[in-house]
Each structure stands twice: as structure tokens, then as C-alpha cells.
Symmetry: C2
Subunit: 502 residues, 2 copies
């Protein structure tokens, strides 16, 4: 792709990073990447090996990814906010030949990690310099571009992204060049990205959402602008100065940008954005692409983001739209057999954008992958009109008699009842049935919903054995970082006896 | 894809063909195709075999293509206006196991062909019936859908389309399932096709342009409406009644539709169309997609249509836009080596949408394909800004001393001179240099361009040996079916001595 871009867009600026190489046209980027690839190939980062980026957002991430595509190595973009212990785990797990790191943001952590680690097979290349030319820039400058590198085959790993994993231990999901390209084009079409795109990479590139934006912007021949992190002032200034047309921005940053630009000294009209509040909507241009009108969908890191798009098709019963055209989607029971439409099952996906597996986790691959299908660990439902509902994580399971009950499905059902503000479902030990279902419900002010109404609502909509046996009304439910604190709910409200917990 | 569409779009009408099966939802279409595939598999049309459609536009073309994807056979959609001799050539060349034919349009031709042909290995299945159930419908009704068909692998031939070929004898270009899907998505994005699309198949489906539209409409989950041929009255009526949103319509048909709908009794506002004249523009909705604003590009049947799109990137020097994101493009000399940017070379392409070769033409494959690259036989140039110019067919060649001169390149140069209305370049025999270049020029009214000006214009822009030695001014140039009649120009103006003509 890069070699094509070089001849297609000889005059187009590909990259702007004033904390890095500045402004690069596609031919300039191609030249730097070819030199970097030569350096990688000569320093052990060839086919089958790993390169690790430890730093903030930077043009180096794009350069390293493109260089790895030329040598056949895989690039891992890790969370730079890791503690020394987490970083040591990542290094042990990944076993990279090369680590490119940024002193400015994480110098102290890296110093501690390197003092506790002694691996002569790995090279540490510092990205930033106190003064003069950095090790990274010297590596590029010292090579001439070679044309005879093997290149990655489309199915080889190109990116590795760590996810929480379902065993509690992070695992790196493998993304292939083929998957990244297919997903980028599919996504770019929904967003009506074209070569006039100027994308501001502000949210972390170790998250798949921003990474997908960067890849799509590159693949359609647009421009990627990088800032180390989402800083409202710098973002306002860059949107104005660089004519940024798209970015990914979260509500707290929007609020800061509204304060920063309260006097309107920055012109943010070039930015096509999702609506937020009146002040924001007046400051930017509302995105009228299919995506802009109906954004998001269901996806995972392991699927390079979205597997469904709200923008596909007319609005339907399910809130997650329709499956992406490049994947197939099924809903399966615990035996892996498809459940009938309209029933909740585990979401399974296969197709170009789906990761082929995890780095160095044969047991997770065996648990998650069958005949090319990935079991997502999430529950969903195909509605009568073909649209998709996301129910929740399959994670917690209640056992009643011989039946498996997913609390997420019961919660999703209760949440639809008028007057319910919040809900959590737990299992309580039951000598006869192993567990029984208990719903903890927060009502809206002035709601008069009764326990009996909750139970009858469920019986009318889901299998009878899934309905709560008891309902308790609470003033609020405890959450940690936005996630329901089920451990505390179990402790406070008699939960326990879950399958597999002895 | 079809199995996915069945569950994705359970309520969406996939096909409307009132000369065929009427209106079919995606599940109904999937059911018919599964039965048809079973019939094909039981009647010899399995992997590696060919099915031939001889008829006008019909939902059967889509059904047969989808059924072939399930059995692994390839579908050839042939020009139904062929003479008996041409049809006999097609049958001998293609050696199909099954011919599905339409009595209404070509009954007499088929009768003659079958009387002159006796091949017991082939089955003729009539599509239309005088009364009652046709052979085609009986074949579908008599089978139950099977789930255990092998399916075509993505790289197998799925479609065969005859092109004139460069040897004078038609040859069928092979299109793979992978190529069709990749090209359809790429094209659908340029046109902003989505599942609300209602596409009217009116121009012949044996041409790649309409076929690409049909495939794209199917793949994004839209609706395909079929008419046997482009009839202005039926098209107006269907656009109004079915809410058609897109079609491919040529100027003569537009003129007929303007007459047909002069009283405005049909509402054609649902149709997104390229602009034509004021009356048409007022009758339809102008297409404001990237494609609608800057349509077309350069392509061939052998590339499933466009390899460049005008809609990609800002307007550039070249009139053909930029290469499609799913292909690579190069410009090569006769030895196959790339020429520098800005110089004319033969356009070479490789990538997902490029045909892997011709059916049963090893000598053409050897001449046209090297290391996955297809030499198109057309001349083009990559301009300084990366945009693409199409110069013309490489076909004719003038030999001067040891140099090859492509008349198309010289004509393209002269055409840019102010005051020139039309131009043809021929070679005249030259005892010393083999041939010399002669330009036949038609001037615009009141133009005073001289022969010397033409020659100096060329010398300033192309290699000196390519400039015309003589220039003759004519009132008009002879054309046959829109194509320059070079044979007559040679005869009338002293042309001859071309390489390879003895």
C-alpha cells in the first residue's frame, strides 16, 4: 500500500507530528519507512519476530507498522501507562526483539524495568532525544532503503493488541494485514472517509478504535496528524491550523475543549463530529455520513473493532444494526450449535476482520476458536428483522437445576420495564436447585413497580426458569470504574454457589 | 453471502422481475438458489464446469450466479444478440454442461444452432414457457435445498464474460468470486450504495458495467429490479412504482424517457442520476455521491470494470482519477520494465479485482500476464501529481527506425492543441526509416493552425522521433460505429508498412 501511495499521492502530506518528524509527504514517509524496515531487518525484527512500541501517540506507530509489513515482523502497541510489573509481564509474554520507547513519558518506568530485566536478545531503541538526533532517527538516517525485503504475506500477524482476556491475564490479540485492510475499507465507507481526510490521532493508539481510524486514514490516502495525548488546548489549535476533518473525542475532552474555546478564538468548523450539546454542535460541523447519523456497533479488539454497524440498513429492533459485510455472525449455545433467531446465544464471528487467535495462548485459542469461528464471550440475539441486539458479557453464569442462566440476559429484560432505572442479577445458593435468581432493582423516582410486576414481566419475555425468584429494591447499585461490582452485591445480598466456584 | 443475507434481511425484497419470478425476499431468493444449485450439481454443473445463460436481463442471471457459487461452476453471460455462427463459436469455445436459454428473444437462433450441433454432454434448459411452468421453474421446484454442496473457493472462476480480445477472436475473461466481491464493495463505497438501494438492471448484463452494478446491489443487501431490455416506457413506470434509486442509462434511452414522460405522469424523483440536460435534471434527483460528482474511470471487462476512479482524490492532471484502492497500477515498456512517471507506457494492473486470465486461451494468458500483473493493451501515463491519463489502445504501432511509436500517444498530444477538432495518426512506408508518422487533422471552424505548428507542438511535448513528419488537413475523419476507420485512412492517405504486416 505504501509503495502505491508514494506514486499515487506524490504531493499529499501523509503525516503531521510536530513532536516527531514534522510534516511528511507520502514519498517522504515511504522513504523513511523503507530505511526503518532495513534497520529492523538487520536488527532481528524479521518475519516471525515482534517489535514493541512503548510510548504515547506518535507518527512512529504508523512508521513502525508499515516497516513491519515490509520485514514480516509484528508490531505490538502497548499501553504506555503500565506499571513496572505490568511492563515486565508484557516483555516476558511478548519476547520482542526490539523495543522502541519514549523517555519523556515513561523514562522512570523503563529505567526500573530494565534494571530488573536482563535479556541480551532484545534491543532498546529510544524514540526521543534530550538534545540532537534520537536513536530512532539515527537508525533511520543510517540506512539506505532496500527493495528486497520479503514483505509480510497478507495472513501473517502485523499488529498485536493486548486485551484483558477472559482468564484475568492480559493476552495479545493477533491482527493480520488482510484483516486490517479489509476492516479499514469497510469502516472508511461507512464514515465516507476519502483522501481529503485529515484525521487527528488524539485518543490512545493502543485502543483498537483509534488505531482503526489511523489505518483507515492511511489506506484511503488521507492525512494522519498525531498528538501525544488528548490535550484540549493542543487539539483546538491543531483542528484550526491543520483543518482537521475527523477525530475521536470523548465527552470529558469535549467539555475541556468547550472551555478552552469559549471565546471562539479557534475555528473548529472543519471538524465533522457526532453531536454532543448545543455549544459543541454550533462549534463543529455535524457529521452527516451514514456513520455520523447512526454511529457505532458491536465489536471487540479481537475483531479489529466493529462486527456490526448501526449505519447498515434501516433502524431495526436490535440496537447494534447489522453485521459488517466482511464477516459472518452466528449465535450459538454452549455446545456451539446455532440457537434459533430471536433467542439469546453467544455471538460468534468469522471473516476477514476477525483475529485468527492470540499470541502464545494455545489454551485460549482452543477455547475461543472452532473451524474459523471466534466465540466472542458476549451474548447477543438476532431479531426477527435481522438486526442485532447485544445483551452483555457471557462472563457470569447462574446455574439453576440443569439450566445455565446468563444474568446479562435477565438484566437486559428487566431494564426494558418502565420505571426501572438500574438492575443487577445475582445467583443465591439454593439447596434444591443449586442457585436461584435474584434481581436487585433500582426504581426511577415515583415509580411504583412491584416485585411481582418484575417477575411477571420476565416470565412473559424469557424462559420461565430464567425469571427472578426474588426481587430486592435498592437505592443504588455499586460500580467500580463504571462496571457493576458483583462481588460486593454477592457479599451484601446473599449471592454465591456459582458454578465452578466449588 | 446469500446465506448471510437470508438471516440479515429476512424482510427485505431482494429481487423484482415481473417477467420472471416476481418479487422475492432474501430468504425466498436463498431458497430458490439452494434448489437450483442442487439441480445444477445433479446435472453436471459442478466444480470446473460451465453454465451458459443465453437470454435478456433476468433475475435468473443473479440466481444462476449465486447457484454456481454453491456448486463451484462458472456462469457465462453471453450476448443474446449473437448470430447463429457466433453462438456456435461460443458453444464450441465454452463447452458448457448446461445452457439456460430464453425462447422469447432468441428462439429462432437457438433452433438453428441446435439443429447444427449435436452434443449429448450438454443440457438445454428453457427459461420461459409458452404456458404453464417452464423447464427452469420445474427444475427449481423439483429439488429440495441441500446444505452439503462444496461451494466455490474464493479464487475459483465464477463468471465468464466474452470480450473482443486482441486477436480478433472473442475470448472469455475469468472473474473470481473474490474479485467480484472486492470490486463490488470498492465501487459501492464510491457510489454510496447502501441497503436502501433499488437498482434497475436495464442495460445488458453481459456488459461488465451493469453486471458490476447488479453484484454491488446484491452484496450490500439492496434490491435488484430486472427488465429484459432498456425500454423507456417500462423503465419510467418501474422507477415510479418501485422507487428505483439507481440505474445505468445511456443518452438515447434518456431522450426516449424524456419523450415518454413529457407530461410528467411518472414521478422519477427517486432516481439518483448523473446530470444530462435541464429537462432530465429537473425530472430526477442529481446524484451527489463522490461518484455522482465525478463519475467513471479507466477499466476493462478483464478488471471487473474500473481500475481507476475519478472520484478518488482531488481533481488532477490526468482525466482518469486515481487507481482503485484494491489494485496496483504500473506503466511499462515493451520489455515489461516500468517507465518513469510522466511518460507513456502500457497500463499494467494487479490486485483483487483483476481477472486471473482467459478461459482456454493459454497463449493470450502468456502474452498478457507476468508475475500476477496483467498488461492491459492500453496506453496510459502517471502524471506528476499521481493522477492517471488514458492515452488509447496500444493496438496500432508505427515503426520508425528502431523506435515503436503508438499513434494513440501522438493523437493525444495533437488533440491538446487549440484549434484541433479531430485527429488520426497513421504510418506511411519509408524506405529509410521503415515508416514515417503522418497526422490527419480536422480543424475547428476558423482555426488557422498550420502543419508547422502541429509539428512544433509535438516536438515540445513528446520525443522528437514521435512527431509527425507530414500533416494533412481534412474536413472530417471516417468512423465506423464510433471507432476511427484506420483501414480507410491508410488506403486513402498512403498508410502502410506497419510492423508485422510483411
Amino acid at each position: 500500500m505504501l509503495r502505491e501511495h508514494r506514486v499515487r499521492w506524490p504531493e499529499v502530506v501523509a503525516v503531521v507530528d510536530r513532536h516527531g518528524p514534522g510534516s511528511l509527504t507520502y514519498p517522504q514517509l515511504a522513504d523513511r519507512v523503507a530505511r526503518l524496515a532495513t534497520w529492523l531487518a538487520r536488527n532481528g525484527a524479521a518475519t516471525g519476530h515482534r517489535v514493541l512500541w512503548l510510548g504515547q501517540n506518535s507518527a512512529a506507530i504508523l512508521e513502525l507498522m508499515l516497516a513491519c509489513a515490509q520485514t514480516g515482523a509484528a508490531l505490538c502497541i502497548a499501553n504506555w501507562r503500565q506499571s513496572p510489573e505490568e511492563m515486565l509481564f508484557t516483555l516476558d509474554d511478548l519476547d520482542p526483539r526490539l523495543i522502541v520507547w519514549q523517555h519523556g513519558a515513561i523514562g522512570a518506568t523503563v529505567a526500573e524495568v530494565r534494571s530488573r530485566r536482563n535479556n541480551s536478545a532484545e534491543t532498546w531503541l529510544r524514540y526521543d532525544a534530550d538534545t540532537g538526533v534520537s536513536e530512532y532517527e539515527a537508525a533511520i538516517a543510517g540506512q539506505s532503503p532496500h527493495d528486497d525485503l520479503p514483505g509480510a504475506s497478507p495472513g501473517q500477524p502485523l499488529l498485536l493488541l493486548y486485551t484483558a482476556g477472559f482468564s484475568g491475564k492480559p493476552a495479545a490479540s493477533i491482527l493480520t494485514q488482510r484483516g486490517i485492510i479489509a476492516q479499514s475499507f469497510c469502516y472508511a465507507a461507512q464514515r465516507e472517509f476519502d483522501s481529503s481526510l485529515r484525521y487527528l490521532n488524539a485518543t490512545p493508539l493502543f485502543h483498537v478504535a483509534t488505531l482503526l481510524d489511523m489505518c483507515a486514514a492511511f489506506l484511503i490516502g488521507g492525512r494522519n496528524i498525531f498528538v501525544p495525548q488528548a490535550s484540549a488546548g493542543e487539539m483546538c489549535e491543531l483542528i484550526d491550523r491543520e483543518g482537521i476533518t475527523a477525530t475521536f473525542v470523548l465527552p470529558p475532552t469535549i467539555e475541556q475543549m468547550l472551555v478552552e474555546n469559549a471565546d471562539g478564538r479557534f475555528n473548529l468548523k472543519s471538524l465533522r463530529s457526532l453531536p454532543y450539546n448545543d455549544a459543541w454542535n454550533a462549534m463543529v460541523t455535524l457529521d452527516d455520513s451514514p456513520w455520523g447519523k447512526r454511529p457505532y456497533g458491536y465489536g471487540q479488539t479481537e475483531t479489529m473493532g466493529y462486527t456490526t454497524f448501526n449505519a447498515i440498513g434501516a433502524p431495526g429492533i436490535g440496537a447494534m444494526g447489522r453485521p459488517s459485510p466482511i464477516i459472518r455472525m452466528a449465535f450459538v449455545d454452549d455446545a456451539g450449535e446455532p440457537v434459533p433467531d430471536g433467542q439469546v446465544g453467544e455471538i460468534a464471528v468469522r471473516g476477514a476482520s476477525v483475529s485468527p487467535g492470540y499470541w502464545n495462548r494455545p489454551e485460549m485459542d482452543a477455547a475461543r476458536y472452532t473451524d474459523g469461528w471466534r466465540r466472542t464471550g458476549d451474548l447477543g440475539r438476532r431479531e426477527a428483522d435481522g438486526s442485532i441486539s447485544f445483551i452483555g458479557s457471557k462472563g457470569r453464569l447462574i446455574k439453576s437445576a440443569a439450566e445455565n442462566i446468563y444474568p446479562a440476559e435477565v438484566e437486559s429484560c428487566i431494564r426494558q420495564l418502565d420505571g426501572v432505572a438500574d438492575v443487577a442479577v445475582i445467583g443465591t445458593p439454593d439447596p434444591q436447585w443449586t442457585q436461584s435468581v435474584k434481581a436487585l432493582v433500582v426504581l426511577k423516582p415515583e415509580s411504583a413497580v412491584t416485585a411481582d410486576q418484575v417477575i411477571r414481566h420476565c416470565r412473559a419475555r424469557i424462559a420461565s426458569y430464567k425469571k427472578p425468584r426474588t426481587v430486592e429494591f435498592l437505592a443504588a447499585l455499586p460500580r467500580v470504574n463504571g462496571a457493576m461490582d458483583y462481588a460486593r452485591l454477592d457479599a451484601d445480598h446473599g449471592g454465591g454457589g456459582y458454578p465452578g466456584t466449588g
